[in-house]
Subunit: 319 residues, 2 copies
């Protein structure tokens, strides 16, 4: 996980540490607090000088007595047994309950929701009332504004686009669904479909070397990605898709034309007049997203003008 | 189409006339005005005594110079050529532009949006902040509140659930898409899948007589309907599905258990704690929906208490 400290002018310090997946289910919130303590010491500030803590987390969430509980199958071994990678037996991580006892001004949202907030404030979505941010990465996530308002839903999981169905009897997703968007076109799915132990990057390299199997795998993934966008657009009637994430940002020239081709073939009354834009904030989205959640109104104009994220410090890596 | 006149106490008069699909593309709005004139004469009121006109229309919509234009493939022959039934060559119906010149207080929305408003005010959705109304009828439509607010999208088409993809290379929908929700589980799809010239009602009759083909067709439709609800729930993170429409309301005992079974098999973190309720307003939804769009605040409590829609007059049928 990455934790950054910002003041009105800039990002001051940034720390990275691997997420800890062993211990009990409060390990992760305790790790957040541990890194913040480290940062306070390093930056020579007192903990109570921190005005607000914003967290952009993977999802989905559940609610327990009003507190957001993280029920992500890629962190909680107790949720999806077939993921042998995860050694813990957690069925939920009480992120909000633990941290709200330490930080009074705490806001937590899905990282794709914080990303769409940042893109709308500082990036490719400025001035738009209807926009969807999609991250096309190892997994697939999204956040959306409809009618100028962020949509969250009963547990803050809207819009969890990775788990919409696109085909019948498709491959199984980490969430248990068969044939959903993440199972068909995430970076992980591309590597899995190619096989031979290839990474996603290697599949794109092969594509550029005219490897027919890579062509087939990537074309299929892009087609299904676009079909997912058709569905989310049917439901949200959006104006702009902002696409980010490593799979997309590293391969825009390959993927964007494929996605547009398939998208605009669908029902014209809904697909006409929808625009595609690459993420403008890309690698700054994590920090800027979490900050956007809690940024005081009076900072915004200054940040829009000076773009201090472009001069953010490199991350200190903790063991 | 149906046009109703209401005052603070009740529905006063209701008129039905077949929608006219020939002539030029202002025929339908002119027909609306014609029926209103008829109603005014019948009810002995002057046209300028009408406080507001609310319209719940099939969709989708487009916008032309700020006015909603109806671009429904089942009304506009110029949009989808393969529908031989529609003899006109319209590519859009300027509903708002024509009628706003006559009626100053005009509101138009998708009929599934007006339905969800009515269900939330007077029916099965009272007090809910996150709810989706779905009509399962000849076609499939929906309207939704997220975080206590109606979602509309850039052209008022959210959430157009009928056109989300569910399978690859499925049957073609009237909208041109292949394998979308409407093409797979609408009443029309059920009749088409059964074949032999059967109507949807006949397929359900056959189901009740243990006809194996009817079992197969209906089970498949219900499964895909549920898969569509999984997708819309992933995107909107809703709390309550209210289902209405003739296909569902006439066959709740058959369909609801099938839908629930398939829905709750999906990713538990998202499908848990979602409720299903049949429409409480059902056959009153059309009139009450359109009225809900323009009903003055001060009428609401009285209507909630006295439920005057239950005593609405029968429709006068115009040739």
């Amino acid at each position: 996980m990455t934790v950054s400290l910002a003041n009105k002018e800039r990002f001051i310090i940034k720390v990275y540490q691997h997420v800890q997946l062993t211990g009990n289910n409060t390990t992760i919130p305790e790790q957040v607090d541990y890194i913040i303590n480290y940062i306070c010491k390093k930056a020579k500030i007192k903990k109570d000088e921190i005005g607000a803590l914003g967290i952009g987390s993977c999802g989905p969430f559940n609610k327990d007595r009003g507190y957001l509980v993280l029920v992500a199958p890629n962190l909680c071994g107790g949720l999806v047994k077939r993921r042998e990678i995860i050694q813990n037996d957690w069925t939920g991580i009480p992120l909000e309950q633990v941290l709200s006892q330490i930080y009074s001004n705490l806001k937590i949202d899905n990282d794709a929701i914080t990303a769409v907030m940042a893109e709308r404030l500082f990036g490719a979505g400025r001035g738009e009332d209807d926009l969807v941010y999609i991250t096309w990465s190892t997994g697939i996530g999204s956040g959306a504004f409809v009618d100028g308002r962020l949509i969250k839903g009963k547990n803050g999981n809207a819009p969890h686009i990775g788990h919409i169905y696109l085909v019948e009897d498709g491959p199984q997703c980490g969430c248990g669904n068969f044939g959903d968007m993440e199972s068909l076109c995430s970076g992980e799915a591309i590597a899995r479909d190619y096989g031979n132990g290839a990474t996603t990057e290697m599949v794109f390299l092969a594509f550029n070397n005219d490897d027919p199997k890579a062509k087939k795998v990537i074309t299929k993934a892009a087609k299904n990605f676009a079909r997912g966008l058709v569905s989310i657009n049917a439901i949200l009637d959006t104006k702009v898709f902002i696409i980010g994430g490593s799979v997309f940002m590293n391969n825009i020239d390959i993927l964007l034309p494929m996605v547009k081709y398939e998208f605009y073939r669908s029902f014209p009354a809904l697909s006409n007049n929808v625009e595609f834009r690459p993420s403008a904030l890309d690698k700054y989205l994590v920090d800027l997203g979490a900050l956007s959640l809690v940024m005081p109104e009076e900072w915004i104009e200054e940040w829009q003008k000076k773009r201090p994220w472009e001069y953010a410090p490199e991350a200190i890596v903790l063991e």
